[in-house]
């Protein structure tokens, strides 16, 4: 008798365990967020999810899209693995989700583009649309471009172009050192900046072009010695994560005065990793940073920024800040596209997004139809002491914040593309 009762209880528990999925309302538009939520990159994916959630809440609070439908962000943990992303994509499709977003890792993005293309080819009546908010390999909007993929982040060449534009305006810079991670991304960074500098500033000498294995170097001092010996005034690096942080820290230790142009100097966790070493040393190229509202006099953006921080206040150790300006742009544009399309069919939404122009606080952005790449103003900024009138906010409680050096307009960032878009 006792056993039977036990069985019932156990069965009940098991059923609850599997039934305890998220409770879904009928009138929602689900967006699958496929990014790492556990593992070494879990914090990055977690922060991204919060960005999307914040945006979805804002849009939903303003009445949603399509006359009252709400966005729902459904997280899927891919552990930054291409394989798991594909399984999770299947999972999302099974759950009836037809909009997918992802950003971390070009390996994952490449896999998702392929998988979405194949799915749409094999199920032409039931397509899936993929919004890429951070994977920057140029090929995704060049040779590998796809109708079903939209990129909201500037790709490598656009960012490097912005960097070279800034270097162009600095006649005192004569010697440039390049250091990158030894994989395709690093090599494409290095090749791009060399071409651009050659074209824009033929007098500049590239005094070093070094590659190091991805994520394997613990002590960058030897590299710094090499940079020091080369007499470089400026270092350009596409390094991200620890490879960037350790590089800058080692530069500070050795008293290297050269400035670092980075992609990811402000990336999540980077400012706290770099710490004081970044002061006046690290520059970044981004579409947004948290002092832009002050410089451009747009106080409404400040409220938006602080609102995020307030909503996701974490314990004493950490402070989560809004970082992905482009997620805001993306969600606003996607919402607009839904309304423009008048329905939630991925194909119609994609057509609506093509060529869409949108006004952000910092200028006009355009989703170019030719390659599905978003073109937006780029800002070169430097990490300086924060708390002043000019630089009111610091980042990640480091006491350092970003100050804009230069704005590169949307038109300037536009580049020709080799993409031959195939539309259904």
């Amino acid at each position: 008798m006792k056993n039977k009762q036990l069985c019932v209880i156990l069965a009940g528990i098991a059923m609850l365990l599997f039934a305890a999925g998220p409770v879904t309302a009928a009138d929602t538009i689900k967006i699958a967020y496929i990014d790492p939520l556990t593992g070494p990159f879990g914090n990055v994916g977690d922060a991204g999810q919060k960005h999307f959630q914040y945006m979805a809440d804002l849009i939903n609070g303003n009445g949603g899209v399509l006359g009252g439908k709400k966005f729902e962000i459904v997280p899927f943990d891919n552990k930054i693995s291409a394989k798991e992303s594909l399984v999770q994509l299947k999972n999302a499709i099974d759950q009836g989700i037809r909009f997918v977003t992802q950003g971390n890792g070009s390996s994952v993005a490449g896999a998702l583009i392929e998988a979405v293309n194949k799915h749409n080819k094999r199920n032409p009546k039931d397509p899936v649309l993929y919004f890429n908010y951070a994977a920057v390999t140029p090929a995704f909007t060049e040779e590998k471009c796809s109708f079903w993929h939209f990129r909201f982040d500037a790709h490598v060449a656009i960012k490097m172009d912005a960097i070279s534009e800034h270097i162009k305006t600095r006649p005192e810079v004569k010697k440039v050192y390049l250091i990158h991670q030894d994989y395709i991304f690093g090599h494409s960074c290095s090749a791009t900046i060399q071409d651009m500098l050659k074209a824009k500033r033929p007098d500049i000498e590239i005094v070093g072009d070094t590659f190091h294995p991805l994520g394997k170097v613990k002590d960058f001092s030897p590299y710094i010695s090499k940079i020091q010996a080369s007499g470089a005034q400026v270092v350009v690096t596409g390094n991200w994560g620890q490879d960037m942080q350790l590089l800058v820290k080692a530069a500070k230790e050795a008293g290297l005065t050269a400035e670092f142009y980075t992609f990811y100097g402000g990336g999540l966790g980077s400012p706290s990793g770099v710490g004081a070493a970044g002061e006046n040393r690290v520059k970044q190229v981004t579409e947004w940073h948290n002092n832009l509202w002050n410089e451009q006099n747009k106080p409404a953006d400040k409220d938006f920024y602080l609102g995020f921080q307030k909503q996701y206040a974490v314990g004493n150790n950490e402070r989560l800040e809004f970082y992905y300006g482009r997620i805001r742009t993306m969600m606003e544009m996607v919402a607009k596209a839904f309304d423009k399309a008048g329905n939630a069919n991925p194909k119609d939404v994609a057509y609506a997004l093509e060529g869409m122009e949108h006004d952000t606080y910092y200028g006009k952005v355009i989703m170019r139809a030719d390659d599905h790449q978003l073109y937006q103003p780029m800002f070169i900024s430097t990490m300086v002491k924060a708390g002043s009138d000019k630089v009111p906010f610091d980042v990640e409680k480091t006491g350092l914040g970003w100050r804009t050096d230069m704005k590169v307009d949307t038109e300037t960032t536009m580049r020709p593309t080799v993409c031959e878009m195939k539309r259904p």
């Binding site: 879990g42 070094t210 190091h212 294995p213 030897p222 020091q228 350790l246 966790g269 409680k397 480091t398």
Partner: protein, 317 residues
């Protein structure tokens, strides 16, 4: 050129000393107990996190003492209640136990301190250049790290040569099966050595965590490099571990300066390599400089294949 050599030597020395702090404990544990401790780097990480936490309460200097002590206790507990339980199932089980332990420690660290890097800083006192050579600074903190490493090495040397327990450990290093015959409390010694090894890794974490970056991935990132030291140095030989650490430090730093690739070699030999195309073309492009950080693994593999005793080992691993 001299500039390059001097700095490579200095950098190599510092990196080598850090490696030695990490690997000396591992060598002791591995030689005596035969346990390849995969969680060793996790104790290094714990050292850094403890030091960070303690330094937010009472400052860096007490942390320098307290954190290694805590790790000594944790190490001893792990040995007593974990390793000793699985010992009867053999070395594979012991090794896998440490693998699982590394897994759990990382999760625990994430759970307690979160996934982002805490702001564990170098003490202000040491945040200044010590001396400047050819416009490159050598910071006080790096000098301090060297000092700590040297002190630890000296202390270890004294303990091993001047104390009774040290002599037993030394005997156990070379003849682990013989010591139990002497009637010493071998499990007790094991516990002590395991705790001591963890404390040394923890000390490395205290002084390395703020110099590099303290985050939940630091143990994983350190990876199996400490095993390389143990293998190259040789089983049962602390001196070997010392030499291997410095050697690996030097190799890694010097390799960075050598921008030669296979195709350069062929050019030098007057051959025009016509087979540089195809799937293997990248092989010819890679410069020695790019491979610096993976050279140790190559050395480890070759060492195990051709000289399993290591440089100064007393017996084969």
């Amino acid at each position: 050129m001299i500039e390059f050599i001097v700095f490579s030597l200095l950098n190599g020395l510092l990196y080598g000393m850090l490696l030695f702090m990490l690997s000396s404990g591992l060598t002791l544990i591995f030689s005596m107990m035969g346990v390849l401790n995969f969680a060793h780097a996790s104790f290094y990480m714990l050292g850094a996190y403890f030091a960070y936490q303690i330094s937010t309460w009472v400052g860096f200097w007490p942390a320098l003492i307290i954190a290694p002590l805590l790790l000594f206790i944790i190490g001893a507990v792990v040995e007593r209640f974990g390793l000793r339980t699985v010992h009867k199932y053999g070395h594979v089980a012991e090794l896998l136990f440490t693998v699982g332990l590394a897994f759990l420690i990382e999760e625990a660290v994430i759970l307690i301190w979160g996934r982002s890097a805490p702001d564990y800083r170098i003490p202000d006192l040491l945040d200044a250049p010590l001396f400047t050579l050819w416009a490159t600074n050598f910071s006080m903190y790096r000098g301090f790290m060297l000092l700590v490493a040297v002190c630890m090495f000296a202390a270890l040397y004294l303990v091993l040569t001047r104390t009774r327990i040290g002599l037993i450990i030394q005997a156990a290093l070379t003849h682990p099966e013989g010591v139990s015959a002497l009637g010493h409390n071998v499990p007790g010694v094991f516990m002590l050595v395991f705790g001591g090894g963890c404390a040394m890794a923890g000390l490395a974490g205290v002084i390395g965590g703020n110099y590099f970056i303290t985050d939940p991935g630091m143990a994983r990132m350190l990876g199996p490099i400490v095993f390389v030291v143990v293998v190259v140095g040789g089983m049962g030989s602390l001196t070997g571990a010392f030499v291997a650490s410095l050697l690996l430090g030097a190799i890694q730093t010097f390799a960075i300066g050598l921008e030669y690739s296979l195709s350069d070699l062929f050019r030098l030999l007057g051959m025009s390599p016509g087979f540089q195309g195809g799937i293997l073309k990248d092989l010819f492009r890679i410069q020695i400089a790019h491979t610096g950080p993976i050279l140790p693994y190559l050395i480890m593999v070759l060492m195990l294949i051709f000289r399993p005793k290591g440089l100064m080992g007393t017996r084969e691993t």
